[in-house]
């Protein structure tokens, strides 16, 4: 450890380094302690210890430390931190708490999952109070029929990081596809039948997702019931889904997906979606906004392949019919740069923000993407360890993000993860214009 200056306060950089080391040491000590306690047990097993309980409580606490290398001269930085002086790096600490509870009352199940977080860095302190992510009541009339009402996340589609058929859900974060998402308030029913023959299972899901200006405002603000449905078939050893959403707060949409194992080590999957009468706005470099309404087609084709050396490759090609071409994105970034320049008309900033919300600054606003992930469990005999590298590229402007990651689950209850994100691209390209150029993330999740 660097010696502390005598008779004075520790410099800010040293304090940050010390905080990082203490955080890491604390996490590892706690993990080792819980693992050590487990060692004291003897081999024994009595299933009655695991009898179903009428009430269950679970959750996790997750400290995260992020180190960011910023593009302080980018328009995205100015948009994210309008009052901040330019800076090249930022350390951010975040702690997330998720709590879940469930009451098993014969054929009825009541459940709730809530999440809250606190993030601190030198520029922003953000507190998200504990809020309901999912929760409601479910009635099961046997394994074939279930009725459900509450706030729910429907997860449609076969794509790993992106999906084109997620008609009734908040899109997943392609950088962290398994991260918790908030649901929409809905009522749904699902009916399943097993059959003999080549079609061995059929399942129909119908739902209504009401909007009235307040309820499900993220989905839409008009007053509508927004019905949607999905039909699942396991036919000829292939998973097939047909899905649709009626016109309402969002345009009508329909699509399908499939997934099939071609061999013991190769899986193929795909999606196709058509959205009707979608209104799309684009902006010129000088701030002239054009809107048009049209039908859009999106699709995804991918595979997962397990090599003889136990490396799992996932490759997806995604065509996002709602997305912007490289020239449309480039025009937006040029306009954003002009709008945020000193002396620009004040209304331009508002226009830029409004356009960003309409789609330009969503996680992946482009037209075509390539997603590649290579992962290996227990590399070099590292039991409970995993390593992966993910590469996601905007296929039109050739900008990309590379994310190597290491994770370890060997301590009981703990998931430890470290990853580095490297974003690269030319000026006016998607990943070249992000506010962050590099990001280091260290996460320790303790589940209980």
């Amino acid at each position: 450890m660097t010696p502390r200056p005598a008779g004075g306060a520790m410099p800010v950089r040293q304090r940050r380094h010390l905080a990082c080391r203490m955080w890491l040491a604390g996490v590892l000590s706690a993990a080792a302690l819980t693992s050590g306690l487990a060692n004291a047990e003897e081999f024994s097993f009595d299933a009655s210890e695991f009898d179903k309980k009428p009430f269950e409580f679970s959750g996790y606490i997750e400290p995260k430390l992020e180190g960011l290398r910023l593009r302080s001269d980018s328009a995205a930085f100015a948009l994210a931190y309008p009052d901040a002086a330019p800076r090249d790096s930022l350390w951010r600490g975040t702690i997330t708490l998720e709590l879940a509870g469930k009451a098993n009352l014969a054929d009825w199940v009541l459940d709730a999952r809530a999440q809250g977080s606190q993030a601190n860095d030198a520029l922003v302190t953000r507190t998200d109070n504990l809020r309901l992510m999912e929760g409601g009541v479910r009635y099961s009339a046997g394994p074939s029929l279930t009725l459900d009402a509450g706030k729910r996340v429907q997860r449609w589609g076969k794509g790993y990081a992106l999906t084109t058929v997620g008609f009734v859900e908040i899109p997943k974060d392609p950088g962290d596809p398994t991260a918790s998402r908030e649901g929409f308030v809905m009522a749904s029913g699902e009916f399943t039948r097993s059959l003999e023959g080549p079609v061995s299972a059929v399942s129909f899901t119908g739902l209504m997702l009401p909007t009235d200006g307040t309820t499900n405002a993220v989905f839409g603000k008009s007053t509508d019931l927004n019905p949607a449905a999905k039909l699942y078939l396991l036919a000829w050893d292939t998973d097939i889904d047909l899905m649709g959403r009626a016109a309402g707060a969002r345009p009508a949409a329909f699509g399908l997906d499939f997934s099939r194992n071609i061999g013991s080590n190769l899986e193929l999957h795909g999606e196709w979606a058509r959205q009707r009468n979608v209104t799309r706005s684009t902006v010129s470099t000088t701030g002239v906004v054009s809107s048009s309404t049209r039908d859009t087609t999106s699709w995804l084709l991918g595979l997962r392949y397990l090599t003889s050396s136990e490396v799992t490759w996932i490759a997806d090609w995604i065509h996002n019919g709602l997305g912007y071409s490289d020239s449309e994105l480039g025009d937006y970034y040029r306009f954003l740069n002009l709008a945020l320049a000193p002396g620009a008309p004040a209304e331009w900033v508002g226009k830029a923000v409004s356009l960003a919300r309409s789609g330009y600054l969503r996680a992946n606003p482009g037209l075509d993407y390539v997603y590649l992930k290579a992962s290996v469990s227990e590399p070099l005999g590292w039991v409970y360890g995993a390593a992966s590298v993910t590469w996601m590229a905007n296929a039109q402007d050739r900008s990309w993000q590379l994310t190597p990651e290491l994770s370890y689950t060997g301590f009981n209850g703990w998931d430890l993860r470290g990853r580095l994100s490297w974003l690269q691209g030319a000026q006016w390209s998607e990943f070249g214009e992000k506010a962050t150029a590099r990001k280091l993330e260290l996460t320790a999740r303790y589940s209980f």
């Binding site: 046997g142 394994p143 050893d237 469990s377 039991v383 409970y384």
Partner: protein, 245 residues
């Protein structure tokens, strides 16, 4: 004298005739039923033991129906609670609460880490997945050489040592198609589970691929149970807890 010689030759051939008379398929089917009823529920604890003595434990609730349907729900550790696996013949899926939808998986991937893989956790009847290539017989043991029926099966060949009196496995060596030994399963601690089920309650596994690591699978609450076919569908994976009483 001639008759005596013929009888002596016949007597020498009898062991060989007896050997060839063993119906390997019937023997394997009998062993399958002695291990578990065709449709059942059970609780299993999987313990992975590291060379330094550290342990990691998983507890699963499993149901099986007929020849090719099985599903398991993870109850422990907390980080894996709610994780569900489903198998219908060669089709396998895994449901992770964090992902929220079933994903297709292959039999060779490990859902727990350590020595156990998906095929160990979602095992079907041996007679369903393997052909009997040969049977050797000694005083107290049968030794079966089993060959996987398809390339979808995790282990290409098994050498199974069977207790002749109990028709229960004592040891199974699992090989890859290259001939490499992948793991050895040791069946121990015969226990009466009730309902006519008497079988080993402990399976210890070691593998040359995981030197000095050991895995133990403990059985409890194994009993006959019939559940609806719809339990073995993707739609039910997130609701499997409903089966537990």
């Amino acid at each position: 004298m001639f008759a005596f010689k013929k009888m002596a030759v016949l007597a020498l051939l009898i062991p060989g005739l007896a050997f060839s008379a063993v119906d390997g398929v019937a023997l394997l089917k009998k062993l399958d039923r002695n291990l578990e009823p065709e449709s059942y529920e059970s609780y299993r604890k999987l313990i992975n033991i590291e060379p330094n003595g550290n342990k990691k434990e998983f507890v699963l609730y499993s149901v099986k129906k007929g020849k090719d349907k099985t599903a398991s729900l993870f109850l422990q550790p907390a980080s894996d609670k709610g994780r569900t696996t489903l198998r219908q013949g060669d089709n396998m899926w895994m449901y992770l609460p964090s992902v929220g939808k079933p994903l297709r998986i292959t039999s060779l991937q490990s859902v727990t880490g350590g020595v156990f893989n998906n095929a160990d956790i979602m095992r079907l009847d041996y007679a369903e997945e393997y052909d009997v290539a040969s049977v050797d017989e000694s005083d107290k043991l049968y030794t079966l050489q089993l060959k996987a029926k398809t390339g979808e099966v995790a282990y290409d060949k098994l050498t199974m040592t069977v207790d002749k009196k109990l028709i229960l496995p004592i040891e199974i060596q699992a090989y890859a198609s290259s001939g490499m030994l992948l793991k050895t399963l040791h069946f121990k601690d015969i226990k009466d589970f009730g309902g006519g089920i008497k079988r080993p309650a402990t399976i210890e596994t070691d593998s040359p691929l995981y030197k000095d690591y050991k895995s133990v699978m403990l059985y409890s609450g194994l009993k006959k149970r019939e559940v609806a076919d719809e339990v073995f569908t993707q739609s039910f994976m997130s609701r499997m807890e409903e089966l537990r009483k």
